[in-house]
């Protein structure tokens, strides 16, 4: 019976990646490989101010002194950093004014993904800053937002138009020395998003960026910076899909969030990059450094992520709770299927008094997938009366997959309370039979059960994103049943 249900689940979970296609957009490449010249090339291409070139070169020189980290629960083939193209941009003819001017291939790609910019604009009131191969092609709603004094643009644009803000905050949360991949990103980052919410402003729409890796063999190095001034609020969404590729594509992004006194930032991610085929060939390497700082009192930063893609995922969206009474939250669903590996979690650094953090992590492993939760909760001596609640659940589909939980807890004062709960469960034959007896086939039953399991996290997502995420969860575990 055991082996039988394993077989069924095995067959079931071997679905092929649905979003595997490549659009042919004219691309301009940097020379292959990485030297100071590459960095000067990128910086010159982007007409960057001197301070940024300096920042990049410092990061690069530091990176040269570092070695790629080794992790206990990830198996990574050596990456040849000299065999990567560090810059690729769609050839820009002139500034785009409306969607008609956008490359039709690009629009078709968005349509295949069900992301029509026009529809997004009309139906959901979402401002979309679409990033394809590192350079922003189209920014919408910028004008509406600017009425509120909100800046939402590509990182490159911010560098040119708001250099002082960039200079002040870039690298202030994730320094260029932070880790191997953060240093690399700081040296070669191509583009990304910049978002600034002025004092007291509630951003009236969900800000959204669809990232997409598109050119073969091009490392993707996004950089996002969000600054929320005192008493402001913003909800930011990031979603990704990628075309099918044979070679591993490296992705090393940085996201920095700064929340001042009484500000709130909600950052939601749905990540669906190509995970590699059934045998583990191809797929994206996703090494991301995401960190936010609650700088003032009563600030709040909330990370929500649904991770279904990538061959290897390595990311720990984290919060530094510096302001008194500040709040950090981390809600995560991570799926690993076939040969996917995920090592994800969060770090909550409690520095201010009465700071609170919540961690809800839901791992789902299928096939030969390996899923690790790694979390650090650190409550320093000064962070009196602080609290953390962590719940880490693992769901296993089949018996060849793995789930691991590594909670690290450091409490340096006596008045704080840390609670940690962990569970591991399987989809039982009882549950499947119950669903099937009601006329629901195995595939839908697993989708239903998995979405139920992940509900606590999914309900944190903005409405339209939640629907997409539910579909993704089912798709990522879908396959040919009997």
């Amino acid at each position: 019976m055991e082996s039988d249900s394993n077989k069924i689940i095995g067959e079931f979970t071997q679905g092929d990646y649905k979003y595997g296609f490549v659009t042919d957009i004219d691309t301009e490449f940097a020379p292959r490989g990485l030297t100071e010249d590459t960095i000067r090339f990128i910086s010159a291409k982007k007409q960057e101010p001197e301070f940024l070139l300096e920042f990049r070169l410092k990061a690069f020189r530091h990176w040269l002194t570092m070695t790629q980290p080794k992790w206990a629960h990830l198996h990574i083939d050596p990456i040849n950093f000299q065999d990567i193209i560090y810059y690729a941009a769609p050839k820009k003819k002139h500034q785009l004014e409306n969607l008609d001017q956008v490359d039709p291939d690009l629009l078709a790609t968005f349509n295949k993904l069900g992301i029509s910019l026009e529809e997004q604009k009309k139906l959901s009131g979402v401002a979309v800053d679409a990033v394809i191969d590192s350079v922003s092609v189209k920014t919408t709603f910028t004008e509406t937002l600017s009425k509120y004094g909100i800046i939402f643009c590509s990182f490159s644009e911010a560098v040119l138009k708001h250099p002082n803000l960039v200079k002040q905050y870039m690298g202030s949360v994730v320094p260029y020395t932070d880790n191997f991949f953060a240093s690399l990103n700081s040296a070669v980052f191509s583009d990304g998003s910049f978002c600034y919410i002025p004092k007291g402003v509630r951003c009236p729409v969900e800000l959204s960026t669809y990232f997409r890796i598109n050119a073969a063999n091009t490392g993707q190095f996004e950089r996002t910076l969000i600054v929320a001034e005192e008493g402001s609020y913003v909800s930011y969404m990031e979603g990704c899909t990628a075309p099918q590729r044979d070679e591993n594509q490296l992705h090393a992004a940085i996201v920095e969030i700064v929340a001042m006194k009484d500000a709130e930032v909600k950052y939601s991610t749905v990540q669906n990059w190509y995970p590699g085929d059934k045998n583990g060939k191809g797929g994206i390497y996703n090494f991301v450094t995401k960190r936010g700082i609650c700088k003032g009192s009563n600030a709040k930063i909330s990370w929500t992520q649904v991770e279904t893609g990538s061959a290897i995922t390595w990311k720990y969206p984290s919060c530094i709770l510096l302001g008194d009474n500040s709040v950090g939250e981390f809600y995560s669903v991570a799926v690993t299927n076939n040969h996917q590996q995920a090592d994800t979690g969060t770090k909550m650094q409690h520095l201010g008094k009465n700071t609170r953090s919540t961690i809800i992590s839901k791992g789902i492993s299928a096939g030969k997938g390996n899923n690790s939760y790694r979390g650090l909760v650190r409550i320093t001596k000064n962070a009196v009366n602080s609290r953390n609640y962590s719940q880490c659940d693992s769901l296993l589909l089949g018996s060849q997959c793995g789930a691991h939980t590594f909670p690290y807890i450091q409490v340096e004062n006596k008045s704080s309370i840390v609670e940690h709960e962990a569970t591991t469960s399987k989809i039982s034959e009882d549950q499947l039979f119950y669903c099937q007896q009601r006329g629901i086939d195995m595939e839908s039953a697993i989708g239903l059960i998995v979405n139920g399991y992940a509900k606590e996290v999914l309900k944190q997502l903005p409405m339209e994103f939640a629907v997409e995420a539910q579909k993704l969860l089912s798709i990522s575990l879908e396959g040919s049943v009997g």
Binding site: Q431, F433, Y434, G439, L448, K455
Partner: protein, 251 residues
């Protein structure tokens, strides 16, 4: 004839549980199956529903004249077979509303009907809730999660009302119910009775049969139906227990 079981043998993990069950159920009838613990009542229900852990070793089951063995669990369900579980299963995070909407629409798809819209579905659900006297907050909760024993059983009846089966097998749906709940469950069944459908009610208590009047009562003993009769057989069992049947078997 709706259901015809001939000389059914079934085993689980190599152990034979059913050894030669014969049973015929016509449309419009209610059959009660009684018998001591562990004699194979739930096994019989599971085999009819097509649960894979139970292996049918010989015999045949015809439903609407078709050989059931060729159909998967969900196909049988879509063809109108409903099993009210003795131990309903919890599905955390999945609301009954969502669960039932998925089920109803899958069955409709199988029958070539369009999916119900959200508002049509809600309307249907309200009607059925009224029919089985279920309180509204139960349907917002996750399937069976944290339900009391009685709530789980009422929820099974609610699901039966939603799916409008042709053949409903209720496995000890009366166990663990208080008197009011018992009446609610029995009324639900009676309201759903039609000339073209049939019920097989597995129970230990004659009490239920005061509310749901069976056409036939069968005694399942050691994997076989050893005695069949009318409603009065249930009364006799209530009075005399199973010892006399065991003795009859030995003789």
């Amino acid at each position: 004839m709706l259901l015809s079981i001939k000389n059914l043998h079934a085993s689980v993990q190599g152990k034979e549980i059913l050894n030669g069950v014969n049973l015929e159920v016509n449309r419009g009838e209610v059959h009660a199956i009684m018998g001591p613990n562990g004699t194979g009542k739930s096994t019989l229900a599971s085999v009819i529903a097509g649960r894979e852990v139970f292996e049918m070793t010989s015999g045949e089951i015809l439903y609407k004249g078709k050989n059931l063995q060729k159909l998967s669990v969900e196909e049988r369900a879509r063809e109108g077979i409903f099993l009210g579980f003795q131990y309903p299963v919890e599905i955390p995070g999945v609301s009954i509303t969502n669960f039932m909407r998925t089920a109803v629409n899958e069955i409709r798809k199988y029958k070539g009907l369009d999916a119900l819209s959200a508002s049509e579905f809600i309307k249907m659900m309200e009607e059925k809730k009224k029919l089985v006297e279920i309180t509204s907050n139960l349907t917002n909760r996750s399937v069976n999660e944290g339900f009391s024993g009685g709530e789980k059983k009422k929820n099974e009846i609610f699901q039966m009302a939603m799916l409008e089966p042709m053949l409903a097998i209720l496995d000890e749906t009366d166990s663990g119910l208080d008197i009011d709940a018992l009446r609610i469950v029995a009324n639900g069944v009676n309201k759903l009775r039609r000339p073209d459908n049939a019920f097989v009610v597995i129970t230990h208590y004659q009490r239920l049969l005061d509310y749901i009047i069976p056409d036939y009562v069968h005694v399942l003993f050691e994997g076989k139906i050893v005695k069949s009769g009318g409603k009065e057989l249930a009364l006799e069992l209530e009075e005399r227990g199973y010892d006399w049947i065991k003795k009859e078997q030995v003789e």
